[in-house]
Subunit: 95 residues, 7 copies
């Protein structure tokens, strides 16, 4: 099953950070509120200018990106938990 986001939406797969410290302690949530990393899974065809033309997206499938911790909506595609968000919620690309 494929899922194609509409307009300027982007589907990403979270990169789980290692939530244990070296000594094996689990870090509580409140200690991890920085932006999260994710891999772009699929990208819509882009938003439209006032003139109605498409604006090409700035990210592509496979890009490793940073996004705000509270951005996006969780969706389930083929049993996998993914996130769908606006391209503008993506802060930048990790090269």
């Amino acid at each position: 099953m494929a899922f194609k986001p509409l307009h300027d939406r982007v589907v990403v797969r979270r990169v789980e950070s290692d939530e244990k410290t070296a000594g094996g302690l689990i870090i509580p949530d409140s200690a991890k509120e920085k932006p999260s990393e994710a891999i772009v899974v699929s990208v819509g065809e882009g938003a439209r200018k006032d003139s109605g033309e498409l604006i090409a997206p700035s990210v592509a499938a496979g890009d490793k990106v940073l996004f705000g911790k509270w951005s996006g909506t969780e969706i389930t595609v083929d049993g996998e938990d993914l996130l769908i968000m606006k391209e503008s919620d993506i802060l930048g690309v990790i090269a």
Copy 2:
């Protein structure tokens, strides 16, 4: 009776997910707040650009789509419960 949504509105028919678990337990509502699936029933002629021209819709009748759980307004057409929403409330198309 046919119903034609105006502008950039879209009429969809919910795809009811199976609300029982394998063992027959009914999952309470609070456990199901992810976006819902629906089939597009009919589509308006599209929103208008600033210049007044129409923007062609990005979904068509028959598309299987994902939309936010709280989007849309319930309507009854020919005794069937449907949902009418803005095209922008549709997250993407399941191919």
Copy 3:
């Protein structure tokens, strides 16, 4: 007496739904919050684009339409209770 709505406003006459059940019970208001049907009575000349040109209305007098239950303002023309609303409050046309 004729009444001509300005701009993108539309005047409609509600189609009263039958408020009694088969057995003659009166359905209380809270059970009827779905969009309502109405017949379009008269239509303004349309909104204006940024360029100042008119956008032709998408409904015409005589159309049977569905509108949100809470849309519009009640007016009385020639002793008849009608509703005036923006064209954008009309969800679609029943053909």
Copy 4:
């Protein structure tokens, strides 16, 4: 003394509806919240498009109009109580 409203403002004179019933009872305010009738007294030269050009007003002095009960600001010109409002507060013209 003449008063010329600026931009897309319109000055109107309320048409007092007969506030007594046939039997002479005074109808309390809460029973009269429908839009009110008024005669247009004077009209500004119109709003401006984005391009800076004027949009000709849709009403003219002498028109009988319907406006929302709570629209406009009371002004006194030559001792007469009038109302000044935006043209967009006028619902339509009674012909």
Copy 5:
């Protein structure tokens, strides 16, 4: 000392209405909430269109205008109390 308002701002001098009644009673504030009269003292060069061009102001120094009671900010120029406001806060010109 001269004061030149920027953009679409206008400096006005209030015309004090006679606050006593014929019999010499002082009218309390709550009885006077209608728009106030003022004389335009100086006018900015005008707002700018989207295209960046200036829109010529609709009032000129010396015009007698009506403005909303709560509009504007008090300023002191050469020891005189004046009001500075947006041109859009001016309701109209008394000719």
Copy 6:
């Protein structure tokens, strides 16, 4: 050290008004809420039109201006306390 404000921002140096009365009394803050005077220190290159072109600023370094008491953010440049604000927060120029 020089500081160049970006876009349509303006850096100003407050002109301290004499906070004592003739008799030497210190006027409490609540008695001084009118707009304040300042000298423009430096000016950004200007805001951009929709078309992306720059709009030339309406004030220049050295201008004596009036600005709203609560406008701007305090900054320290070379140990001197200055204010940075949007050009639109400047009410006008004292000539």
Copy 7:
């Protein structure tokens, strides 16, 4: 690892001000709410005009800038704590 901010975002490295006074006292937070200094680390390709064209950024990597104390989101790149913000949150450039 390189991080490329999207659109009109800018990544900066805070310049820590010396938080001790000459006598060695630590200044509490509430005494330091003025805008902060930072060095620009990387810059997105710029925002887009209505027409869809890019607007070149006004700052470049290496610029020393002043930004509002509460602007931006903390990110960690290669173990270093940086800030990502909109170019419009940058008040100006220190030359």
